[in-house]
């Protein structure tokens, strides 16, 4: 009898002593420099996903399902237990080297990795260089556009710590991202989901139901369709009703035209074929409407189709979108757009982009060579990286020549300003 009483007591004491070591937030776990160390891209980190072997197999077999499986996430001395993992992606979704979303809150409310409730592991399936997305996001941020931070990691999986290849780890566009970039998180955030057959570019859609599958709410998810989508429809109406020669007059409350032009300039400089003016209509962005305001902003996402061709004219596909058509057809806005292209060109001509591309290539090369799941050969990886660096070297001249031929006054004004100094 005595022994019976003691055993549960010893068990409870042992658990009570061990449990304080487990915390809901990795911030308190004595980890190094927080999530910046993981996402600043200065080093190639190792991430270990502890997952049941059967789940790992199921996750590949049912990769289309989006089912979550429990995992422990380990990075350096941080271990977040009972997180959830699922396969993610649209055209990049596959069962060979899937992309993942890891949700630290899936089974445990309030658990986070230095404030991040979830992270994304991208397979860079369409990008043999593995750099397009990361370099694009860096470029957006350098141009003052909030964009998710990304870095490369070596992924290890399972009890045997098997190497599963190089992934691009990315923060999500989420409430944490909104707070970090806008100082608020109570506005309305939507992820745009392009529908097959759509070639959408701000054309008016009076039916609110049209917006439902295309603008997936990431905040205020349970609000009524009217609450969620009437403001989005109003934005689209404003785009359509705005006078071409004075867009701000009607659109200014809904969208910062100058910011939109900057986003457009970055994407078109980087020859992104699946972005705001891609060949299939608008794609790969989030829409955030600030709390208590009509004003919205587009946040870039999934830029792995950038760096497509060095000689792409930065006016390509501008006519397919109501707003970009107005910008392109109105000299005032067209010149503003061309001027922002030159700003991007100036940034790149400093050599920064080429150096960063070369640095990242060197950082991940050995790990990619050993990647057991990459769909690309070493030669393809090397050649794709060589092209990215070539793009960084040569794109500036292409863009400047284009601007010179389209609007020499914009280039001249820039030269004059450069001579005078700031």
């Amino acid at each position: 009898m005595r022994r019976r009483r003691i055993r549960p007591l010893v068990l409870m004491l042992t658990i009570a002593m061990c449990v304080p070591a487990l915390r809901l937030s990795a911030q308190a776990a004595g980890a190094p420099a927080g999530v910046d160390a993981l996402l600043d891209g200065s080093a190639l980190h190792d991430v270990w996903i502890h997952i049941n072997a059967r789940d790992w197999q199921d996750l590949h077999t049912h990769y289309q399902d989006g089912t979550y499986y429990p995992v422990d996430f380990e990075w350096q001395d941080v271990k977040l237990r009972n997180s959830g993992i699922r396969v993610r992606g649209n055209t990049t979704r596959n069962d060979h080297k899937p992309s993942f979303r890891i949700d630290f809150n899936r089974y445990i409310d309030g658990q986070d990795l230095f404030g991040l409730r979830a992270i994304v592991l991208n397979n860079a399936w369409h990008d043999p260089s593995m750099l397009h997305d990361d370099l694009s996001m860096l470029m957006f941020r350098r141009m003052g556009i909030p964009a998710p931070r990304q870095a490369h990691v070596r992924l290890y999986v399972g009890a045997a710590r098997e190497y599963a290849g190089v992934y691009v780890i990315s923060e999500e566009v989420s409430k944490t991202f909104l707070t970090a970039n806008f100082g608020e998180d109570n506005g309305y955030l939507y992820e745009f989901h392009r529908q097959d057959g759509d070639n959408y570019g701000f054309q008016e859609q009076p039916d609110l139901g049209w917006y439902v599958p295309r603008f997936g709410p990431k905040t205020h998810e349970t609000e009524s369709i009217a609450n969620l989508y009437m403001p989005v429809r109003s934005l689209v109406e404003a785009v359509n009703e705005a006078r071409q020669d004075n867009l701000e007059d009607r659109l200014g409350d809904y969208l910062d035209v100058r910011t939109f032009i900057t986003e457009l300039a970055v994407q078109n400089f980087l020859a992104q074929t699946d972005g705001l003016v891609g060949g299939v209509g608008m794609n790969n962005f989030y829409l955030y409407r600030f709390a208590g305001k009509k004003l919205s902003m587009l946040i870039p996402w999934d830029q792995d189709n950038s760096f497509s061709r060095i000689d792409v004219p930065p006016s390509e596909q501008m006519g397919t979108n109501v707003l970009t058509s107005k910008i392109w057809n109105e000299p005032k806005y067209r010149n503003a757009y061309l001027a922002r292209l030159l700003d991007v060109a100036d940034l790149v001509s400093s050599g920064w982009l080429e150096q960063e591309a070369a640095r990242q290539y060197e950082q991940i090369r050995a790990a990619v060579y050993e990647d057991p799941l990459t769909p690309y050969s070493r030669d393809e990886f090397d050649q794709a990286n060589a092209f990215v660096q070539q793009f960084a070297r040569e794109r500036t001249d292409v863009v400047r020549h284009y601007v010179a031929s389209m609007a020499p006054e914009v280039l001249n004004a820039r030269r004059l300003m450069t001579r005078r100094g700031p």
Binding site: A16, V19, L22, R23, L24, R81, N82, Q111
Partner: protein
């Protein structure tokens, strides 16, 4: 979407029963004079000893007042809870058949479909889909329940129906000892694994022994109706998120879904006592699921154990004797007020073996199971108007033990249900 394998089996089984009945009926070719149509409690047709058929209708419609809770889906006030039709009878005076279909629920509309025959004295054989012999409340017909809902033990821990064969019978006079023993294709339809679309054979054995120790005891006649029993099931548990369910009275899940693998074992004990107009019933169950290789690192995890019990009491105020089916001595609008019964039940379902210190310990592949429980008090009034109609009102209070991060209310949570029941 292709039909579920077990649905196909049920359709084949129903077809088989129908074809067999028709064939036997055709062979026997009864004379027209032997045919008899009756309508006592339900419409029936007899072709002498060759073939009999009667139609049973069960209808239960509920009006519910459930609390609005965060994290729970809104519930309709009106709920057509059960709408069933059954055909049953005898073939050649020896084989009993029963085919039953639910019209409200569409996920598994076929309910009890079986053939049953007496082989020798003390040995009956039953084959098809029917209730596995575990759980007094679960194996009680829904028309004969004392309360509007099955107990939590009956709903979530007892296996429910399964496809299999069973031997049963009783020995000695006055059913002093009764037994049931069967083997089933897989666990019962109350479980998650039964919802698998690609059903593999994962046999479950079930058995129950019920004794009436005082049935022949003359001195104290009021204890003669005491019957008590024990039951078990033992079966294969496929690997996956197939731990047992647990739902609140409004139907929201409160028990953590866990990965299990290996074997599931149920143990249960039951007691029923019906002295005159009073009915007392109690059950206790324990279910143990193994979790072989289900840890994050493929390690074996400790077993999951769920427990449930209930105690209930009823009193037929109008004096009728408590039986499975209550028929008022003086039906309503036929010289009387019908039969009125009041009752109360207290029950609890619980699981969890981990400490409540840190939520980070709990996950579907964690060795720790989130401690959760639901303690439910039900009080009710049943008004049996006649042998066809019954009105029931239940007031239910729940006190839930939930993790601090749960969105459902811990309680007390009050629900009210009113039911109109029609049975033919």
């Amino acid at each position: 979407m292709p039909p579920r394998t077990d649905t196909l089996i049920m359709v084949r089984l129903a077809t088989f029963v129908a074809v067999l009945s028709a064939a036997l009926f055709a062979v026997a070719a009864p004379a027209a004079g032997q045919v008899k149509l009756t309508f006592d409690k339900h419409p029936a047709i007899d072709f002498g000893d060759t073939f009999t058929a009667s139609v049973r209708v069960k209808s239960q419609n509920d009006w519910r007042d459930f609390p609005s809770e965060p994290g729970a889906d809104p519930k309709n006030v009106f709920d057509p809870y059960r709408e069933r039709i059954a055909v049953e009878g005898k073939i050649l005076g020896r084989v009993i058949y029963h085919v039953e279909r639910e019209f409200h629920e569409t996920s598994s509309p076929w309910k009890n479909i079986y053939l049953d025959t007496r082989v020798i004295h003390g040995l009956h054989l039953q084959g098809g889909q029917f209730n596995m012999p575990f759980g007094l409340d679960q194996t009680t017909s829904l028309m004969n329940l004392d309360f509007n809902y099955h107990s939590l033990a009956g709903s979530f821990l007892a296996p429910g129906r399964g496809l299999g064969v069973m031997a049963y019978g009783d020995f000695f006079k006055k059913s002093l000892l009764a037994y049931e023993a069967g083997v089933f294709r897989q666990d019962g339809d109350n479980t998650r694994s039964a919802q698998l679309e690609d059903v593999r054979v994962a046999p479950t054995f079930a058995g129950r022994i019920v004794v009436k120790p005082f049935s022949k005891w003359q001195p104290l006649h009021f204890v003669r109706s005491v019957e008590t029993g024990v039951a078990f099931t033992e079966g294969v548990l496929p690997a996956g998120l197939y731990s047992l369910k647990g739902q609140t009275i409004p139907g929201d899940a409160f028990v953590q879904k866990l990965y299990v693998n290996g074997r599931r074992r149920r143990l249960g004990a039951q007691l029923q006592w019906r002295p005159g107009p009073i009915g007392v019933q109690a059950e206790a169950m324990r279910v143990r699921d193994t979790r072989i290789g289900q840890g994050i690192e493929d390690e074996d995890l400790p077993n999951v154990v769920e427990r449930a019990w209930y105690v209930s009491g009823t009193w037929l105020v109008t004096g009728e004797h408590k039986k499975d089916t209550i028929t008022p001595t003086r039906p309503f609008l036929n010289g009387g007020y019908g039969a009125v019964e009041v009752g109360a039940r207290v029950e609890r379902l619980s699981t969890g073996n981990g400490p409540t210190l840190n939520p980070a310990l709990f996950g579907p592949r964690s060795p720790y199971v989130l401690p959760t429980a639901d303690l439910v008090w039900t009080t009710g009034v049943n008004w049996y108007l006649n042998k066809f109609f019954e009105l029931s009102l239940n007031v239910i209070r729940e006190d839930r033990t939930l993790p601090r991060t749960a969105t459902l209310s811990s309680g007390p949570v009050w629900s009210r249900t009113f039911r109109i029941e029609f049975g033919l």
